[in-house]
Amino acid sequence: MSAVRSPERIDLPDMLDVGGRQARRRRRTVRTVEAAVAMPVLLALLLLGALLFDVITDTLSWQVLAPAGSGRSFAFAEGFAPFGSWDRVMRLELAARGVPAEDIEPLLAAPEERRVLEARNRVEFMPWVDGRPFRWLVTTVSDELVADRPLWSGLASRRELLAAAEPGQVVVLNAWLDPAFVLRNASRSPLVAGLLPAFVGSLLLVGLVILLAVPIGVGTAVYLEEYASDTRLARLIELNLSNLAGVPSVVYGILGLTVFVRLMRLGPVVLAGALTLTLLVVPVVVVAAREAIRSVPPSLRQAAYGLGATRSQVVLRVVLPNAVAGITTGVVLAIARTIGETAPLLVLGAAAFVPRPPDGLLSTFTAIPIQIYSWVSENDVEFTHAASAAIVVLLAVLAVLYGIAYYLRRRFASR
């Protein structure tokens, strides 16, 4: 039911006292109250803004490095090549380190040598190096970090950092979030730690959860809407669903730990994580799917029955095709939930440090939120930067998902 909220809503006393002092006072009170109750929205926006600002600025920091490599940086144009920047910059760096020109190509071509190079060196794109913008710098595992200042405090003390840097040291503005960060394997060293294993872990989880949760959720919704009469069983299922939605997610983690990890002896693997998260998101899918199914007009069903369709035919050919947009919205929200959920996976024993992406459903794994948690709890400035970069990736993925859900819902609502 919609309330009367039209602007010409009538304040009778006001009409009798148009322009009177009392009416003006009343209108002022109403306006003050309106401004007051709109405050929390402003606060929520402020908080979101502060959060984004904090996370994004944390991905950048001023650093003083004592490089173990050449310590030379290269102009963007010098090193850039589509998909080949690593090789180009590495050639320049090796030359700068004094490797004879004729040795460089064989070094890059030999698989074994290349692997060692890749493990020890990292070609980084820095927004600012020693006073010059947009440079390539090769950092190595043995680099020493002399100082690390947050972006804003460092802006004031950049001159100071430059002055204090000893010969051979490099002052850089390090952007932790670059394409290489997402494509790099994890590491114990924050300088070369990457998000790839967690990213792949999250993708695998999402894939599995969709495969499992969509049939279960949609099936449950169809049963409740199209099959169940008001029986005791149907009411039990409904009551149960509304209570499941209120169970804290850690408790699901404990269920997963006990049943999937220990009882079924799966261990803390991708499959166990996916099964646990499936249980968690099924209610989300059910709620959305039920709403979508309920909004399919009964006349469509009656028409199908009138043509002699059986119940399963009505469900499969009439109800579900017409409910697909709403169901998809629910699935997208479930995916968002899967990607952001941390606690159950942590309880399950998803490993904090997984060097490489999982290579199957039965290998140990980590996920983006777990990686964020473990980097934050390292209590180390540089890992904090890595965590903030991972958060930006996570929020970007979620933004895309919510965008899709928002778009679907608007299209769905307009029909």
Partner: protein, 299 residues
Amino acid sequence: MRLRAGARARERLFGGALLALACLSVLTTAGVVAVLVFEATTFFSDPLVSLREFFTGRQWTPLFADQRFGILPLLTGTMMVTGIALVVGVPLGLMSAVYLSEFATARRRRRVTFVLELLAGVPTVVLGYFALLFVTPLLQRFVPGLDLFNPLSAGLVMGFMILPTVSSISTDAMQAVPVALRQAAYGMGATQVQLIWRVVLPASLSGIVASVILAFSRAVGETMIVTLAAGQRPLFTLDPRETIATMTSFIVQAASGDQPAGSLAARSLYAVAATLFAITLALNLVSQIVVRRFRERYE
């Protein structure tokens, strides 16, 4: 209608399959209850543990050599964070609900709802990061003696986490107040403010109470914000500046540590989880009863 035998069997099979899928959710609940009850009973049947000490003891040290199992420190920790979250989140949520339901134009309402949904969509691990690395340093400037891990900043941020819950359920309740009641109030010369105070809020009270209880339950069960920002040191205190532990943060700590499965320390987490589950279940049931029993019916 007559169907061939094969078609009839197919129909049966389809219906049966759907029923089986629907029953999976009941199985989930049964699984949760079975696991918690079984493991918690095993825990309490250990000679080192007594029910009385569990509910009245002021020390919680299952991970130390001198094991004590009194859950009160975890409960006070949980209640402190939850209390701060409610103090922040409930008034803000109710105010935004009044705004959405009584003042905002349809267009404004859509936008504001979108902002609140964004807030609800931020993963809690991100909120925990924000509480620990932004809110705590900020608060430390104003609050002397504030620990790095403290329930104050965790509770503040959690307040914003529950704001959308309070707001969306309360908005629905307020919008369900019939037009006739509003018109009657206006007809008697009420201003809009009087209408809100004396008609809309009382008429939607059951929905508002339900939203607060649900938010309470969500705050009790929230894990990542407290694990990251409030700490993992069970301390029997009501000082919001000191590092504490909550039920959820203990569960994470115990589960991600390396206690051998089956040890008393590992079992203690099931006792905590059972307590947590009982509290949230009770809260959810109460909120459902409030909605069903005390809803004003307008026919």
